[in-house]
């Protein structure tokens, strides 16, 4: 425990001129420093694989999406942003989503869907900007969500890297 020091102001500290010059000496120094202002829309913040932007669906190299419409992301989503209607497919995986929508107005970019997906089908992209004229336009359907796997590859690698745990107990 330390008791914080409080001292009465001295006469010099109560006078106007010395104090105003002392204060200004600090603020004026800032004139000679490099400005730190970022001109936002022209100079966006840098993004990297750690950035959790809007979730996107992975399109595999054969052109199909990896999703099997298991509904795990729908269940894991705390904002109820995901809506999936599953259906049958002739492909070997048997099931695929007929409708896959993420309401970007509800999505809080938490990344729980990415964690929950057992098929590596949904990943957080580095896309952050979100604007439209209508609400309906911000409910993204499958076409708007699809991204080639190569575009999401840095994030996929990153998620695999932070998922490297418990290796001692693996034979």
């Amino acid at each position: 425990m330390v008791i914080v020091q409080r001292k009465e102001l001295t006469l010099a500290e109560r006078l106007y001129l010395p104090e105003i010059f002392r204060g200004l000496s600090i603020t004026f120094r800032k004139f000679f420093e490099k400005p730190i202002t970022r001109q936002y829309p022209e100079e966006p913040l840098p993004t990297d694989e750690v950035t959790r932007g809007q979730p996107r669906l992975v399109v595999k190299d054969d052109g199909n999406i990896a999703c099997v419409s298991c509904g795990m992301c729908e269940i894991a989503c705390p904002a109820y942003a995901i809506t999936i209607d599953g259906g049958e497919t002739d492909r070997q995986i048997e099931r695929e989503p007929k409708r896959f929508e993420i309401d970007m107005l509800r999505c809080i970019l938490c990344g729980f869907c990415e964690e929950a997906c057992p098929k590596d089908a949904i990943f957080m992209s580095n896309e952050l900007e979100l604007a439209d004229y209508t609400r309906r336009g911000l409910i993204y359907d499958m076409e708007k969500l699809k991204r080639p796997k190569s575009a999401l590859q840095p994030r996929i690698d990153y998620v695999y890297k932070i998922n490297k745990r418990w290796r001692r107990t693996q034979a």
Partner: protein, 420 residues
Amino acid sequence: MSGAQSGPTLTRQVFEYTPGTRPELDHDDPLHGELLKLNMGPQHPATHGVLRLGVTLDGERIVDVDPDVGFLHRGKEKSCESLGWHKFFPHTDRLDYVQPLMNNIGYALALEKLGGIEVPPRAKVVRVLLMELSRIMAHLIYIGTLGIDLGAVTIFFYSFRQREELYKVVDAYTGHRMNNTYVRIGGVYADVDEKVAAMIEKFLADFPAALDEIDAMLTRNRIWYDRNRGIGVISKEDAVAMSLTGPTLRGSGVNWDLRRAQPYSGYEEYDFDVPVGSVGDCYDRYLVRMTEMREAAKIAKQALDKLKTVKGDVLIEDRRYVLPPKDLVHSSMEELIFQFKVVTDMRLPRGEAYHGIESSKGELGFLVASDGTSKPLRCHIRAPGLMNIQALPMLAKGRLFSDMVSLIGSMDFVMGEVDR
């Protein structure tokens, strides 16, 4: 209440009207001696959110204050009960939104106590590091907003500049600048890697000098001194009786810090001082918070050094609560079942647990009760800010209206947490 207040006694003329007579009107006083009821807020820049204060004024003097909370009520406790254990984490971010990671950790600690989960040592160190950085973040907001309320706009920019550096650190670690949601039951989601550690190291190296600058601008500044000293004196007894916690309590000279009194996350291994005040006024609370930031930087430095020696996982290996690693899910049927189980139906054992942490505002506690299912039976959040607001009427009575701003600022509450 203690007689710590020393304003002049109130002179109040009550306007009495008897029908048929014409009272003598004091034409200089437009209210003719009546009291004025003034609504401060809910949209007032100095009330730090949506707090409405019904202030009764006699001229410039405050006769009574009636805080009205609840404008930001979003039903967080009920959300927790309907969402389930894990899905409530993003909601904790939005309680005290200036220190999201601290709230995450508070909630996780309560759940871990309920489940009897022991967090790996490295996760504990990472958590301490995150908590102390969050504390600095929150106190910087306090300094900045109190500064802007009392007319020191420069301080707002200086403190937000430091906060921006912390945002960058947190962004590099979690991928978000705010509302991070990076703590999980049984640890934290990702490890602090070298790049992030280097950023924190750099921040901690520059921070004391930046704090000195703020210190030089404020602590001995006459306006700051006069507007904070002797205002809102809380005696030790009152502070304890009103169940104040955190810097507000310590400003009154009570040496009570949960990091010392009930250590969690391995705080007993760190070397730090708990600053306490001697008088209990706004100035003491300011000094306590300034010192606390320096101490927090010290603890963060120690945690950073510890990270170099304490190795291992940052998430517990317990497939009842923690998702299995991604690649194993692809190759093993059991892991896939665990994945489904944890996402859809993660249960905590039947029982009840309370865990309080020393957040930047005071004791932030989560009381969770479970009936053994995947949804909490009850989740209660003990918000330190709510108690701080309760002290306002006692402190404001008899003071000038302009002191109200210092008082609100020095109690340092965030309405997201108070109304929850």
